[in-house]
Every structure is written in C-alpha cells, then in structure tokens.
C-alpha cells in the first residue's frame, strides 16, 4: 500500500528508494522439489536489503510452494498454477512475471543463472525494456553488481541505472539460504491467458544417484585423457568413494564419453566445490572458467606442462590409469580413508575395521611405509582434544591385538595400522 502511494516521488531519491526495496525471486523447480540454485538466489536477494518474494509457477505447485514458504528470508510466496506452465516455457512464464511485477512494482527481479534462468530472465527484461545483468557473483549495493566476462578472466563491476534491476545469480557465489525457519505467506495469482507460441514435448534427463554437479561438495572431472566412455567408470568408482559428482571437459563431451549436461566450463556448468579433481584435463581457458573458484583443485595429468597445473593446488604427474584406481582402492579400504580424514580417530575408525585391512599391493602401488609416513604427517591435526600425536618410533613396537595399557586410543589404532 505504502509503496503504491509513495513510489513516484520516492523514485528520485535513491537513498529512500533503498528502504522500499522489494525483490522477486523466480523459483526453479520440477513440480516436485525446489531446485537448489533457488536457495542461493534467495541469499543474493536478501543481500539487497528489501523484502523478498518468491514466484512459484508450474503445473503442480502446492508442494514446492510449501517448501519455499519455509525458506528463511522469504516473506511472501506467489503461486501460479496452470497447465500452460508445462515445461516452464519462457513464452508462458514471461507474461506472468510481467503481470506480477505490474501488480507489486518490484525493484529487483532475479533467478538463478541455470538453463532455466538464462532462458527466462532476458525475455522478461526484453518485455520490460530493461538491460538485464547475467550471472552476477557479487552484490556491492542494490544497483552495483560484479560479474565475470571473457571466460572468467575479467571481473566487471557495473552499475545498473534501470528502474528495475533484472539479473541472474551464479549459484556457487552465494550460500544456500536455510531451507527451514521461514514462514512466508502464500498468495494465489491468476495466470494470464496462455500464449501458445511453443509447446513442450518431452525430455531425456540423465539419471544419476550421485550428487548434482553444481551443488556437489566434491567433483571429479575427466577429459580427453580418459580415452573412452568406458574408462569414465574409473572416475565413477572414485566419485563413489568421495560422494562426488562427475563432470567433464568439453573434449570428453564432444568425443561422446559422457552426456553434454556434465560439461564444466564457460559454456557448460559453473561449479565451485570444496574439492575439484581434474583427471586427464589439460586445462583450457574455457574449462577453467567453470571450476577455478573451487576451494581446492587437484590435477592428475601425465603431461607436466599441462596448464591445469597452473591453477591446481596439488598436482600429480602420473598416468591416470594407474593413479585413479590406486586412489579409489586407498579410499575404499574404509578405515584407510577414514584414517586419512581429519576426525577419523574420534568418529569413524573402529579397531575391528583396522584389523580387517589389507593393503593393496598391485604393481605401481606406493609402499605401505610411504603411506604410513603420510598418515603420520596428518596426525597432529587428527588428534585434536586427545593425547598428543604419537611418533613413529614410539609405536613401532606395538603389536596388533596386544594390551591397550600404555597406549592411548590414537596410539593403539595407529599401531594396528602399522601392523597391516
């Protein structure tokens, strides 16, 4: 109400307008669940400082609308259910967004920079005669944004002087908003009449039990070096041990090793996981654009000159056909994997597990002693809160299954490990 009365005079005074900011986030979903990038977009919308509304449009919205209404920071959920929204066609959704904007006069309209958002948002901007801003990675102020250009090689800070700011949000640049704790009001919208310019026929989605690529904490990606689609199984096996998603370079996709929707890069998906393992990927500019914001990057490549080593934190110059199975095996021995993890001593490592260990001794494997040195190196950080880390000489005499006296749990477990 207040906005409707006050909008005109206030528009001239930027500082006052700021207090009356209102943002419309267009929710992406599949009529069943909300797509995770919407949560990142809501965080970006909250950063603008005003009220955040969410538009849920689809053929079946009840479940998703409920889900969105519980997201922290959402004040209002607008629901538009109609058969015309089958396939979430931009031609049908655009009039709805425009109508909704006319009704509520938003200062900002945004969606995640996914295939859905990239398809829809510029059309909405075109209809409202506004210059949209794509794939923002930072919000400096309600009218100043940062985005990347030239495959992520240039950061551009730009100011948008439009009355309505319309933009897409890079999901990996904003945290996901908490999916609970909110209590937004729900409001039904009357959908405008169907446009009928286009029709959704069907889809073929890649089915996978692994985490979704753009939101996975760990991503294992393969390139041309994998040589065939069958060899990608090596990466799937490794990914399973790490609960990782599998990605690919354009070369691997073009060669038909994996489907297109796994492509990471400037024109594929942008990922920023905690750990990105690039296997047999040279590291072309276009690929780096999609992954160089990952927290830790590991490169496994037999070419020591490969550009991927320039962005990687850890580089292993090795034949992937040996290194990847070795890595999988090491991680597979459950306790070995746990031992390497920081909190292993307290949580996941039971002695019985350790007794059951057998070291893989296939050709090309590192020696157990090497591994033990490696593990010893991690001990100080593992034993936080417990006894101080043992050194190798003090425990080397310990035998498997012997009395526990004189040893801390850490020492004991470590001694078992040494015996194997």
């Amino acid at each position: 109400m207040l906005r409707a009365v006050a909008a005109q005079p206030l528009r001239r005074a930027a500082s006052l307008v700021q207090r009356f900011q209102s943002t419309l986030v267009i929710a992406e979903h599949n009529n069943e669940t909300l797509t995770p990038i919407t949560l990142n977009t809501i965080t970006a919308a909250k950063r603008l400082g005003g009220e955040v509304s969410c538009l849920v449009a689809g053929t079946s919205c009840d479940k998703v609308a409920q889900e969105v209404s519980k997201v922290q920071g959402v004040a209002k959920v607008l629901v538009a259910q109609h058969d015309a929204y089958k396939g979430f066609l931009a031609e049908e959704l655009t009039p709805l967004v425009v109508e909704t904007h006319k009704k509520y006069n938003y200062t900002h309209i945004c969606a995640g920079a996914s295939a859905f958002g990239k398809n829809l948002i510029p059309r909405v901007a075109g209809k409202l005669d506004v210059a949209p801003v794509s794939d923002i990675i930072e919000i400096k102020s309600p009218d100043t944004f940062v985005r990347t250009m030239y495959a992520g090689n240039i950061l551009c800070t730009l100011q948008c002087d439009e009355a309505i700011k319309i933009f897409t949000v890079r999901g990996t640049s904003f945290e996901a908003a908490p999916a609970s704790g909110g209590s937004a009001s729900l409001e039904k919208l009357t959908p405008p009449p169907p446009v009928g310019l286009s029709e959704w026929i069907d889809q073929e989605l890649t089915k996978s039990d692994r985490p979704e690529l753009t939101s996975a904490k760990v991503v294992v990606s393969g390139g041309r070096g994998l040589k065939s689609g069958e060899n990608f199984k090596l990466l799937y096996d490794l990914a399973d041990q790490l609960h990782a998603a599998v990605g690919a370079s354009r070369a691997a996709v073009d060669a038909g090793f994996v489907p297109n929707d796994l492509q990471v890069g400037q024109t594929g998906k942008i990922v920023a996981p905690e750990l990105y393992i690039a296997v047999g990927i040279s590291g072309a500019i276009q690929h780096l654009a999609g992954m160089k914001d990952s927290k830790t990057i590991v490169a496994i490549n037999k070419d020591p000159e490969a550009p991927i080593f320039q962005v990687a934190d850890f580089g292993l110059v090795a034949d992937l056909f040996q290194a990847v199975p070795e890595m999988t095996e090491l991680l597979k021995k459950k306790h070995c994997g746990s031992m390497l993890a920081q909190d292993c001593w307290k949580v996941r490592c039971a002695p019985e597990d350790i007794i059951g260990c057998s070291w893989p001794r296939a050709g090309g494997m590192a020696s157990p002693s090497h591994t033990i040195r490696a593990v010893a190196g991690t001990l100080p950080s593992c034993g936080s809160g417990g006894p101080s880390a043992p050194n190798l000489s003090s425990i080397s005499g310990a035998a498997c299954g012997q009395s526990m006296s004189g040893f801390s749990w850490n020492t004991l477990r470590f001694s078992w490990f040494l015996q194997l």
């Binding site: 210059a131 949209p132 794509s134 989605l205 993890a341």
Partner: protein, 270 residues
C-alpha cells in the same frame, strides 16, 4: 512449406585462445593488436543456416552484425562460410578497435539490448521466418540477445539448441535443447528465434575459393541511427571497473597417490 528466409546474427570477438588483459584505466580490455575472430557460437548458428539452405529448407541466409567497421571481417568470414549476403549495422563513434566489446560502457559496443533492438529493426525490414544466433558471445558471456530479440518481436524462442528439424507442411519447428539435467524437445511456432549450443553441429572451414568468392558477395553498411530511425540510446549499464581476478598459486607437486590423499586429508577435504 516454402523455403525460409534466415537471418543469422554474428559477432566479432577476441579469439577464444587469447589471454585477455585489462587496458590501463580499467574500463576496457586490451583489444589493440589482439587476434579477433567470429564468435564460435555464431559460427555454429551460421553453419546450421547454411546447411538448411543446402537441404533446400532455407531460401536465403543473411548474416548481420552490429559493431564497428572492423566487424566487416566477421561478415566476410560469414560470407565465406556460406551466407548469401551481409549487413553491417555500424555503431556510431566506435573507434578502429571497438565495437566487439562487452557492451556495457563507453565505446564498448552495443550490448545485448541494443543489438536486439537493431536486429528487431532488421527483422522488420527483411522479414525472415527464422533468426539464428549463438547462445552467447565468448567476450561478454551475457547469453541474452536471442531471448531479448524474441521478446521484442513477440516470437517463440528456442535457446541452447542442439537439434533443429522443420516440421514439413506445418508452420513450426521441432527443436532439442540442452538443459541442466539433460535434453528436452519443444515445438516452436514460426517465426522463431533460435540460439545455438555447441553440440548443434560442427562448423566447416572456409576454403580459399570460398574466401575469394566472399569478396564479391554483397555487404551492406547501415548506420545504427538510420536503422533505428532515431538517436542511439546511451548504454544502460555502466562499467565502473574491469579487473583481472586474483591469480591462483601454482600447483604443489605431489609424488604419489598416498601423498596426495595425505595432503587432502590435512586440509580436511576428504
């Protein structure tokens, strides 16, 4: 169905293999003496149009660009790759090395809304049934022009196209799009705006005879004001600063897989 008239929008951009640098002043990128070429996605869009003509589905393929005089290079390439004629919509006041930039600042080219507005005027004049564009330019990475153009024209849109089939006897096309989870199929009413993804086709190389022939093909130059029928609107996004992102430290070499796992464990990554 009679063969279609197809308009293909192309853009001259800094070559995909060039490492781009910010020019002193921090408002534009260094373009002087840098290799430029046709935006890869535009090549794919053009290739699709040329194949349509070769199959008898398209009657004429017009390549158009909005940019500086320099963008004639891109149009000559398009002609050598099989376009029948070309239109350069010339940006006013664009310097010798400008017009292909990110489109959001002084002297940096038109930007998607203005390019879409110019293309819409061209569509009005040429009356194509199909407009093919690339899904994004590799310089500004906007991924907007096709969608804005479809909005202005009130046409259907098919973005991230990986397959195109004309429905014989009807006034629609059947397309396959690349979406996040896989692929989807749509039917779009003609006229329509389509934007090409990488997987649509494998563009051909221009042969020397075709490059020679392209020099004789018609290339019209039209000032942007003339096409718009009024003054060119100022850019609506202002570039405050361009900068290069922080450089990552190079890799620490690890000697073996266990050593690698150790380092990752120490960081808490596994």
């Amino acid at each position: 169905m009679a063969p279609l008239k197809v308009l293909v929008g192309v853009k001259r951009v800094i070559d995909f293999a060039v490492k781009v640098r910010v020019a002193p002043g921090g408002h534009v990128v260094q373009e002087q003496g840098v290799k430029h070429s046709l935006n890869p996605f535009c090549e794919i869009a053009l290739e699709e149009a040329v194949r349509m003509r070769e199959r008898g589905e398209a009657a004429e393929v017009i390549a158009a660009t909005v940019g500086s005089r320099q963008s004639q290079d891109a149009l000559r390439t398009a002609l050598a790759l099989g376009a029948d004629r070309a239109v350069l919509v010339e940006l006013p006041g664009a310097g010798p090395e400008q017009g292909a930039g990110p489109g959001a600042g002084p002297g940096q080219g038109a930007g998607p809304p203005l390019v879409a507005a110019a293309l819409a005027k061209l569509v009005e004049r040429e009356k194509p049934q199909l407009v093919l564009l690339g899904k994004q330019a590799i310089d500004d990475d906007c991924n907007q022009t096709g969608q804005i153009l479809a909005a202005i024209l009130d046409w259907s849109q098919g973005t991230f196209l990986s397959r195109l089939e004309l429905d014989p006897g009807s006034s629609s096309v059947r397309i396959q799009r690349e979406v996040d989870g896989g692929l989807e199929q749509l039917r779009l009413q003609l006229p329509t705006v389509l934007t090409a993804d990488l997987r649509l086709n494998q563009p051909r190389y221009a042969t020397l005879p075709n490059i020679m022939k392209a020099k004789k093909k018609p290339l019209e130059v039209q000032p942007l004001e003339q096409l718009l029928g009024g003054p060119v609107p100022p850019p609506r996004l202002r570039v405050l600063r361009l900068e290069e992102p922080p450089v990552r430290q190079g890799a620490q070499r690890v000697e073996s897989v266990p050593a690698l796992l150790e380092r990752l464990a120490a960081l808490g990554r596994i």
